[in-house]
């Protein structure tokens, strides 16, 4: 595992984003940038558009106006390079319940496997790290919801992507899991990586935290217009 990411490896910027869903404006004239060492937390009430914005930044949602660029070029033009540099963890982790954690993890890391030289040894260690030691060969449908989440999170230890995009990663985790994940995020920031996260969880211990409150943002806009 590398110690530090290169200083220019993360440069994601959004300019003048506008997105509506079912005739409701989720956000408008939204601009921000994420660079090395940044932690951006998207906050707001349920339905404020956090996941929509996150999927948009991950390059999965294309129904928006405005520009998202990676290293100065439009996201869709450099999507393959972008995909290799960012790790996306959605609501659904892509876990097959009939397979064991190790088999699932092998699939999850496969896009990076050849380039990063990830071997099985690392995967076993990563599962150990997320407290799944001893459960490696148990089918996931016999694991608890929190343990299944951990299978998805075990990726964080193996995939060498400088930008993490995490959608509610604290869901279903117990206190130790939450603590582990907070530590892991802090460590990633200290390594000069970047994290964009949606969470209702208060991430207090991280100094470089930026919060983008979608609910408050739109309330201000509406207040200003009235």
């Amino acid at each position: 595992m590398l110690d530090r990411y290169d200083n220019n490896s993360v440069s994601l910027s959004a300019t003048d984003l506008y997105c509506e869903r079912d005739d409701r404006v989720l956000f408008e004239s939204l601009s921000f940038a994420v660079g090395n060492g940044d932690l951006l937390q998207l906050a707001g009430p349920n339905g404020a558009g956090k996941t929509t914005l996150l999927r948009l930044l991950a390059g999965l949602n294309r129904e928006y106006e405005g520009d998202v660029s990676w290293q100065g070029e439009a996201l869709q033009d450099v999507f393959a390079e972008y995909a290799a540099c960012r790790l996306y963890l959605g609501h659904l982790a892509g876990i097959k319940r009939a397979l064991t954690p190790i088999e699932n993890l092998r699939w999850l890391v496969s896009p990076w496997q050849a380039e990063a030289g990830i071997d099985d040894e690392q995967l076993w260690q990563a599962l150990e790290q997320v407290e799944l030691g001893g459960y490696e060969e148990t089918p996931c449908n016999q694991l608890s919801a929190g343990q299944q989440r951990r299978v998805g999170l075990a990726r964080l230890d193996v995939i060498p992507a400088p930008l993490w995009i995490l959608d509610e990663p604290f869901t279903a985790l117990d206190v130790y899991g939450v603590e582990w994940l907070e530590q892991r995020i802090l460590q990633h920031i200290n390594r000069n990586g970047a994290v964009i996260i949606t969470s209702h969880h208060a991430l207090q211990n991280i100094p470089s935290l930026q919060r983008l409150d979608l609910g408050a943002l739109m309330a201000n806009r509406r207040g200003g217009a009235a």
């Binding site: 949602n61 393959a80 995909a83 892509g94 496997q113 050849a114």
Partner: protein, 222 residues
């Protein structure tokens, strides 16, 4: 290992863990063909005339039965989202999915068919034609079906919709394949029909993964 090969491996592993999913359509295939002589007429001369058609209709319906699940689980558990996020070619992934589907449905159907031919008093001359038509025809069914499965993956109980979408596209395959077996049984040449099936397969390999990939993107990029 790239995502495409990893996905093929994982799907085969899943098939090995849940044999019920691909054995069910095979059992259906077996039962339909086995019931025909009981219900219609056990006279071998009569059966020999309809054998090719019955086997092909049963194979087609068995394939249709197994298609519904092709992409549904992948949409529900987030696998598809990871695919899309990976930036890898969706064309190759869709082709891989169709390949796995064929390995778990078309190939076992083809292997089982000679036994059913025996039950249906298939003329000796027609065995090669039947095997050849199934070997070339069933991959077409998997490829065409993967487009329908991709389109209906996000729809609750899209099984009926899938059948309505796909069945018309299956008809030409059925006509040429059944005709090849029938003509072989009469001792006539069947190169033309097999040639047509081959052309359809080539076209399906080239084009259907594009359509399936576009349908999958449509399903998720909202």
């Amino acid at each position: 290992m790239s995502l495409v090969t990893a996905t093929i491996r994982r799907d085969l592993l899943l098939a090995a863990r849940n044999p019920g999913e691909w054995l069910n359509p095979l059992m259906f295939f077996l039962m339909v063909v086995a019931l025909f002589p009981l219900a219609v007429d056990p006279d071998p001369k009569f059966l020999a005339r309809i054998a090719g058609g019955v086997i092909w209709v049963a194979a087609l319906l068995a394939t249709l039965l197994s298609l519904d699940a092709l992409y549904k689980a992948d949409v529900d558990d987030g696998t598809l989202e990871q695919w899309l996020a990976s930036g890898e070619s969706l064309y190759l992934l869709a082709l891989g999915k169709a390949l796995v589907h064929w390995l778990c449905s078309g190939l076992p159907l083809t292997i089982m068919a000679p036994v059913l031919g025996l039950m249906m008093a298939l003329p000796n001359d027609a065995y090669w034609a039947m095997l050849l038509s199934l070997l070339i025809g069933t991959p077409i069914l998997s490829l065409l079906g993967s487009v329908g499965a991709a389109l209906t993956a996000g729809v609750r109980s899209g099984g009926l919709l899938l059948s309505l979408l796909i069945l018309p596209m299956y008809v030409p395959v059925l006509i040429f394949a059944a005709s090849a077996v029938y003509h072989a049984g009469l001792g006539m040449t069947y190169n033309g029909q097999i040639g047509f099936l081959g052309a359809m397969l080539a076209l399906a390999v080239c084009l259907t993964p594009f359509a399936a990939a576009a349908a999958l993107k449509l399903n998720l990029s909202r």
